[in-house]
């Protein structure tokens, strides 16, 4: 027994050692960026080691106000777009997914096939037709082209994600609800939604991050600097035809990670609170 105990402790220790090593390897580039963000601009490429010769906060202080508007505006814009996108995707994709995973209707397979096909077409060829369309609505320089599609379940990736999660749920769970006389809507609301919390959290996390990081769509639709999102602003620090401000780029990139890390940390609670912890009975 005692030997067994020691062996398992040793194994745990090794697990942690392996995980820690992997964490360091995984995080090395981020650590490098963090260190560089505290170096004066001229030092960044002269001293490529992890330890700055000289530590400065200039990149943060100056970077924040280096552009036409302060970064608070870009953060605000990004936040508006990302939060709206999360709400939109969770609402529209989970409804569609429930219908596709649990309800029987004609054309179900066809709909599922169409959902998948819309994932398969490379984005770049629909850019121009889509731009022509949105621009004719007068939606350039508004957030609509970034938000509205999410409320209309155009991120088919998440429909498919939730279909798979819902289908993984044992059928008895919602059967119990139906026996209690619940219709499809109540089953969706009372049974499926709570039970697929991990899937919802995943959807929320991915939507938030992908929207937050998206560059190409905002580039095309958000021309007015007052509507710029964080990635657009970050790109302003870089230019192939002139001087670039790498220090500010690194500093603001790291600050830009803040909200997504924060969102991830909050949302990951719901990753854990799935069926495994809440149980299925009751």
């Amino acid at each position: 027994m005692a030997g067994d105990h020691r062996a398992s402790r040793f194994r745990r220790l090794m697990t942690h050692l392996a995980l820690l090593t992997l964490s360091v390897v995984m995080l090395y580039p981020v650590i490098w960026m963090l260190s560089s963000s505290f170096k004066p601009q001229e030092e960044i490429f002269r001293n490529q080691g992890l330890i700055p010769w000289e530590v400065t906060l200039d990149n943060y202080v100056e970077g924040w106000n280096a552009l036409q508007y302060g970064f608070e505006l870009y953060f605000f814009n990004s936040l508006v777009v990302a939060v709206a996108a999360v709400v939109g995707n969770i609402f529209s994709c989970s409804l569609a997914a429930y219908a596709l995973a649990r309800l029987r209707f004609r054309a179900r397979r066809v709909v599922l096939a169409i959902v998948l096909i819309t994932i398969m077409l490379p984005y770049h060829v629909v850019v121009v037709p889509q731009y022509i369309m949105f621009s004719s609505f007068g939606w350039v320089n508004t957030f609509w082209p970034l938000i509205l599609p999410k409320f209309l379940a155009t991120d088919a990736f998440f429909i498919f994600l939730m279909v798979q999660f819902i289908r993984a749920l044992p059928r008895e769970l919602d059967e119990a609800a139906t026996i209690d006389g619940a219709g499809p809507y109540r089953t969706y609301w009372k049974v499926i939604l709570p039970l697929t919390m991990p899937a919802m959290a995943t959807t929320a996390i991915f939507t938030f991050i992908w929207t937050w990081n998206d560059f190409f769509t905002p580039l095309i639709y958000l021309n007015d600097p007052t509507t710029h999102t964080v990635p657009l602003a970050l790109r302003s620090f870089l230019d192939a035809t002139g001087e670039s401000s790498y220090g500010s780029l690194f500093a603001m990139s790291l600050l830009g990670l803040g909200p997504i890390i924060g969102f991830f940390i909050v949302a990951q609670r719901y990753l854990i609170e799935g069926i495994a912890t809440t149980g299925v009975k009751g």
């Binding site: 529209s92 219908a99 209309l152 499809p184």
Partner: protein, 319 residues
Amino acid sequence: MTQTTLSRRTVAEPPLDPPVRRTRSAWAKQEERAAWVMLTPWLLGLVAITAVPMVASLVLSFTDYRLLSSPSWVGLENYVRLLDDPRFTKAIGVTFRYVFVSVPLQLAFALALALLLNRGVRGLRFYRSAFYLPSLLGASVTIAILWRQVFGSEGIFNALLGLFGVNGPSWIGNPDHALGTLVVLNVWTFGSPMVIFLAGLRQIPREYYEAAAVDGAGRLSQFFRVTLPLLTPVVFFNVILQFIHAFQAFTPSYIVSGGSGGPVDSTLFYTLYLYQRGFTQFEMGYASAMAWILLLIIGVFTAANFVASRYWVFYGDEK
């Protein structure tokens, strides 16, 4: 495989016995109506946002469309020209190599770590965040610079090799290795499939483990009898989507190679080439033709996966 609670039937069809004894047709009608109500947002989006540009791109693939002037019909010419475009062939080769090496690696990594973390390691939150952090950066412009720090001739990787007396090349500058660094980049961002796996693992009802334990199943046998079968829909999802993603990979090469797909076209991803044709050479007709060929390739591949899934994916809604 011993299956007690789950069947192997995976045809995308829910069970046909409504549990409530109302009249069958009334129930079916209610269900059908509810389905379409719930699909309304999607349907609107399909018609208003997705379908029009998609159909437009299909039509444009039969035209000479130079973006700034109106398209003119050329029939199959774009498709014919693709057949002897050496860069097209090159791009297909590069993309297939990337897809079939990086996706299995990334998924294996993601699954292994998800299983490890799911065992309730102390510091789980820290590890999960640490492993996920690179995925947050995956599309950032800073990646180009960071990747040089790792795989440039003076990067950390060569510094490590130097400890063993190996004088490594410039991994990103050498056409034989550049694609390899992008594979590593993709594996590095294994956080997304890992999170999906973790979510899937969390959704497995504890009762199944309890039942299996009552049957006297050990940890290993629990894994094969409960965890793995119940996780297969999520594995399947990751396989399908990561493959589609990899086929459409654009950003890694676009950022790391500065948009060129170099050195010497060694990282010329399919969509990067498509993009160069469409947006820098203004040949949107040609680019559209490429897009639909890619759709066809992915479609065939996905369909094959769906067929194969009948033999290994188990859904909880099937008996």
